[in-house]
Amino acid sequence: MSWDWQVVDDFMPRFWDGVFVTLQALAIGTLIAFALGLVWALAQRSSQVWVRWPVVAVTEFIRNTPLLVQLFFLFYVVPNFGPSMSPLTTGIIGLGLHYSTYTAEVYRAGIDGVPVGQWEAATALSLSKGRTWRAVILPQAIRRVVPPLGNYVVAMLKDSPMIATIGALDMLGEAQAFSNETFTTEALTVVGVAFIVIAYPASLLIRALERRLVR
Amino acid sequence: MSADTPLQNDHDGNENPPVDGSELIRFDKVTKRFGSNVVLDELDFSVASGKHVTLIGPSGSGKTTILRLLMTLLKADEGTIKVNGDYLTHEEKNGKLVPAGEKHVREVRKNIGMVFQQFNLFPNMKVLRNITEAPVTVLGLSKDEADQRARELLDMVGLGDKADAYPTQLSGGQQQRVAIARALAMRPQVLLLDEVTSALDPELVAGVLDVLRDIAHTTDITMLCVTHEMNFARDISDQVLMFDSGRVLESGTPEKIFGDPEHDRTREFLSAVL
């Protein structure tokens, strides 16, 4: 089978549409994952057992089950008793929710990594709880969490094509639709290469960040 | 030396020339730098076979570097090292000296054994296998032969009952005695001892030194020893080398160096450590 550049050419407009959707899903999914993960992490530190325990159970469950099935669940099951959402919206929420259980662990490890002495010093200075968090703990935890968070953004990018399975027109969705219409396969190869082209510089960036922050 | 001592060089996998007082180790204009720091500066020195030589001197004077160069854990920047007349890390090809291949290095290196400051026993192997593994895989001894040799050596270092323990279950002193047995099981011509008691709790030092004294007095193995135990050095040494700034400041019998050193620098050093 030969390679036809004309097919690639024809695919290009839809490819860029797909790139836009993928990056959109990645950006909003990342925001959800970062914010919700912090909520999980703080809830897991709660002194209330009835807060801590359900959160641990739910995050463990989400992290140990496939994102693909979770997307199906959100898309086909949730509308039975809840809101009905577009494929893209469902995909973004699914990505954000799934990865929030990973970022929660990153935050947890980052917070646990701050030496106990720092808490004790804050207590000795009678800092309020909020002030201790904002002025002492979080600034120190942040340099431990940035590199692993970055790695999860790259991981999310690589999982993002799953939203094509519920009908979102991201890079893979566009390629699949185009291939089905034209009985060609070039589009799939283009998308495969595109992932490597996007992911490689991203991981180089994270490694550089890691070298700067972790000393 | 009696016929059944576990240290005798005989027909086993490692055939060594007899001890005749000939030159065993020679350093020829060896220079070693770490960055801009010159640790050894065109160092010349030799050790005759069967001798026990102790290297003393302030820390950073390059004593340990000499042992690590001999063990090929470091590479000299300039100069050559010979063991038994063979270049250690070089080969002669068409009249020129070129870096030697792995095979040549291993052939020359098999004459050398080393005991480390931190013991470096293999935590994944029980005590007996720590001692038998290299004789079996490197020298090609049968498992039974290696076992027997290892048990004799364990008896000699007073740990005959620890063959089935893991290294982590032993005290530091016991681990170091196993490490000595492990090095001796390879029947090296020369044993390098790199501050072997420095990492030990004070009460465990004597046991290790007793074992080494025993070996020094009852065998013909050559020893090259870096230590801060001056009494031990006095006991076992034929020759003491005082190092300073990457050079041999002076050398002589222990009586001379410890009793009547030539240099003030030596005197200062000895009064600081004795």
């Binding site: 089978m1 463990e60 469950f61 140990n64 089950t65 496939p66 994102l67 693909l68 099935v69 979770q70 199906f72 086909y76 099951v77 039975n80 662990e105 947890r108 490890a109 990594g113 431990r144 692993p148 790695n151 999860y152 790259v154 991981a155 690589k158 999982d159 094509p161 799953m162 399975t165 893979l172 291939s179 396969t185 799939l188 998308v191 495969g192 992932f195 490597i196 996007i198 992911a199 490689y200 991981s203 890691e210 | 063990m71 090929t72 792995e102 291993r106 290196r109 050398i112 480390f116 470096n120 026993l121 293999f122 935590p123 994944n124 593994e133 290299a134 895989t137 490197v138 090095a183 390879m186």
Partner: protein
């Protein structure tokens, strides 16, 4: 509710297919992880370079896109794969790349003094690797391998997209046939969770044995919450490899 007939014709075999895909992909992935991981520590720069290229390509690759490509595009290049093997290959190739980072990192973490002791006993490079470095690195590899294995198990759901009849495929069939989506997908999620739990318990046993093999006492393990702690450790230990998970 789900008919028992459907359950026995699709769901039970589906569970079995999921397990098979997991096992085969894990075997392929382990072979690649050790092969590439060792190659990345080679003394020859060309071997290191090629292994590095493999790592960067497959780590940057989306498993789903690779699977699609192997299933739809590869036949056009004259290479037809059975769906099951397209899925297994795509999973093994990508997760093997992450695994190679675990192997490389654990080998690099073996104390340099152990290598020196190996040189002092005149072992060859290969003997040192086999007798000293790998056995000592192994206990350190088990917890991150456990995490990777669970990621792989989750990844197996992707094979349903290329028509392999695993349990996710069975769930989708039932969705198309009936409107009973809620119990089906709930059961599906619970099944994956149970499998992940079993893998974790199994790997805990492996870890205990591995640690005993280097004379270490394993940590005490609790119930399911023990997994949380092992996650945290490996997050810190290998943020690079964690990125792929």
């Amino acid at each position: 509710m789900m008919s028992s007939e459907f359950f026995t014709t699709w769901f039970l075999p589906g569970i079995w297919v999921t397990i098979q895909v997991t096992v085969y992909a894990a075997a392929l992935g382990a072979a690649i992880a050790f092969g590439i991981g060792l190659a990345r520590t080679s003394q020859l720069w060309i071997v290191r370079f090629l292994a590095g290229v493999y790592f960067e390509i497959f780590r940057g690759m989306s498993a789903l896109v690779l699977m699609f490509w192997m299933f739809f595009a590869l036949p056009f290049f004259g290479w037809q794969l059975v769906p099951m093997w397209a899925g297994v290959s795509a999973l093994g190739l990508t997760y093997g790349a992450y695994g190679s980072e675990i192997v490389r990192g654990s080998l690099a973490a073996v104390a340099p003094a152990q290598k020196e002791a190996g040189i002092a006993l005149n072992f060859t490079r290969w003997q040192r690797l086999r007798l000293i470095e790998l056995p000592q690195a192994w206990p350190e590899m088990v917890p991150p391998f456990n995490n990777l294995l669970i990621e792989l198990l989750k990844g197996t759901a992707l094979v349903s997209v290329i028509t392999v009849a695993d349990m996710t495929f069975a769930g989708n069939l039932l969705r198309l046939g009936t409107n009973e989506t809620t119990p089906v997908f709930t059961l599906l999620l619970v099944l994956y969770f149970v499998l992940a739990f079993l893998i974790t318990r199994g790997m805990r046993l492996v870890e205990r044995r591995a640690k005993a093999g280097v004379g270490q006492r394993p940590q005490k393990t609790g119930g399911i919450t023990s997994r949380l702690s092992s996650r945290g450790e490996s997050l810190q230990a290998g943020s690079q490899s964690a990125g792929g998970m």
